[in-house]
Symmetry: D2
Subunit: 192 residues, 4 copies
């Protein structure tokens, strides 16, 4: 299970991300991504999650409404030799989900206040057995995402994650906090 | 990245574990385990980590001084069809490391006050490029493990992890805390 | 600054609380309670916060819709000689706020899905310079309380609190997590 | 319970602190400081804790080995009209504890690797019924402080504190983490 270190990402001051290493690791587990999967990453930002999905999936659609996010994501994919198999789409996620082929994983890293629409629309295109994963640093987003997923009849997994990292110096190991993140995820029932 | 749900483990009231799902996920990332690896899991307990390693490594040596831990670990491996490729060894980790073949990952989930000895001894048998991972719920263990790894000349990664899980009811989503865990890890330099 | 230890409270299995020691301490600070204050504690539960307010305020109105909560709160006040100056009111908070005299602190420890109504009604009876404090273990409540307070034109302080407590044994100090709590508070502007 | 807001402190880039509002609040509770108390604050830094003790105690001795810390502490006390009743001492805490009168509270906010000596020396001068409080952002300090207090026969309270603060914007409430702090405290037994 190889996760790219945080400091190997090219950053852009106008683009949020990359999602920190430990959270990328947890998102990979929650998404249950595997080699046969088609993944849609709405709000790809710096490409932190896109890159991890690119290592593990068959196909990734990375979407962002900010053109600089797509440039940065592309640079990071290219730097790590992972741009093959990733389509970069400059658009609002709400406008483009309908035109994509059915997918196995819907990742939402940014919604711009359109969570309800994104999740409901995405759910329709999600294959049965597929997973939705939402990450957020906002207080409001996790409860909204949870509510929508419950409305869709899904069994929701909500995980609050607080990570601190040791900064080692002569004085000792100072524990530096990362901002808390909430990961909300759910699986679409298998048809029977 | 498939992590076995917490509730799929057989438990034994005399054996700690399994390490919770999210922490197992993070340990898999920190260990960088892959199909070519030999893993030693000192203090296998319920087999939570052993089972995840068994899915991803070539060979796992699971060690515990408590015979009930080995029985429980075996039951869990068997339940998930993963007992092939795992050797179960009833012993104190300090007494058995020397007799094992060189390994790629040393996992320490329990040390019984012998961290210094375990890590120094383990380091000798660790292949170059190999990883050591220590998890602990104790206040004292992370600083001890960090100190020993620093003494061994390793660059140490210390991560404090606080996870809470949503319990969904009619009233809302109650966030239930898991005990905080510290993961200390390091990589043995590649020979040049 | 004297905070009553958690284990000195009489508990009742049908009543939540008491709010843990460290959170009671933080609520006292956020409420800025002082000897001249009238405090309303909606959802007094076991009386954890009521008792701390009773030590520091002029007058406390403790409200709960559960009669067992009021009995438990009374027992705890009596045990600590603090029942003078506390009025216990069995009612839904929404039905009784209007009949109370103006107050300096509105504490909401339980709302039963009526946060919006409670805060808006409470705000009217809150003296200028008065404080509202909401504590919650739910994912949904903090964002709702924040939204209502913002709508009321208040400057809102949101604090996520994760506490772990050391359990000392021969093996070391095991850090045991308390469930995370969010404290949302705000001050009503002084008239000018 | 009035705690000075973080942004009311004068800062100095060469001096750590002030201890954040919520942690100052908790330290006041753990120290059980009251109007009759003599407090010694070793490692006063910016004066964050000194100032809170100055509001609540009879006398505070604020000690720091860094002359800039004492200047900054003095400025903050003066700004808030609290410099009366505080003695500022430029010294290593280990060199000056012996010359102070007996005290009720020993606060250690910085030890410079001399925790063992500071606590043992301080314990001797601590009145019976007095409290020791240690705060730290380091991984190593809490376990060392716990060990020394246990050796001194004290019953130790260890509290891990992770605080995040909401930053409210048009997009929502972003939760920003403060670095985790551990508070170790204990009370000296009353003579009988
Ligand atoms: N409705 C929407 N459609 C497409 N992109 C959106 C969106 N709302 C927000 N975004 C984008 O979501 C991103 C969130 S930041 C995501 C960071 C990313 N997970 C990483 O690891 O690098 C921003 O770049 C923002 O432009
Ligand atoms: N020196 C030592 N050698 C071998 N086992 C040890 C040991 N010290 C402690 N242990 C074992 O370490 C275990 C820690 S509990 C480990 C839980 C495990 N990671 C899981 O996920 O299930 C206990 O079973 C204990 O018996
Ligand atoms: N609308 C409402 N009016 C009055 N009480 C309410 C209410 N909604 C919930 N409650 C009460 O709120 C309480 C929440 S538990 C509060 C615990 C308390 N702070 C302590 O420290 O002990 C419960 O007892 C519940 O009965
Ligand atoms: N042995 C020692 N004696 C005196 N001061 C010390 C010391 N070791 C460290 N310090 C001081 O401890 C301080 C720690 S920072 C303390 C911040 C303070 N509690 C606040 O709220 O502002 C530093 O200023 C450092 O100079």
């Amino acid at each position: 299970m190889d996760i790219t270190p945080d400091n190997e990402f090219i950053k852009n001051s106008n683009v949020p991300g990359p999602t920190k290493e430990e959270v990328r690791c947890l998102v990979m587990c929650k998404s249950q991504v595997s080699k046969a999967d088609v993944v849609v990453d709405v709000g790809c930002g710096t490409g932190g999650l896109t890159l991890e999905f690119a290592k593990r999936a068959k196909k990734v659609y990375a979407i962002d409404k900010n053109p600089e996010a797509l440039k940065t994501t592309f640079k990071n994919l290219q730097k790590h030799g992972l741009d093959d198999g990733v389509d970069l789409i400059e658009a609002d996620g709400t406008e483009v989900l309908d035109n994509l082929p059915p997918f196995d994983v819907l990742m939402v890293g940014g919604s711009g206040g359109k969570m309800d629409y994104l999740l409901k629309r995405g759910y329709k295109k999600l294959k049965s057995g597929g997973r939705i994963v939402v990450t957020s640093i906002l207080l409001e987003t996790p409860s909204e995402a949870t509510m929508v997923m419950k409305d869709l009849g899904m069994e929701v997994d909500v995980v609050g994650v607080s990570i601190s990292k040791g900064k080692i110096s002569a004085r000792g190991t100072m524990m530096v906090a990362r901002n808390p993140i909430t990961i909300v995820s759910a699986k679409k029932a298998l048809k029977n």
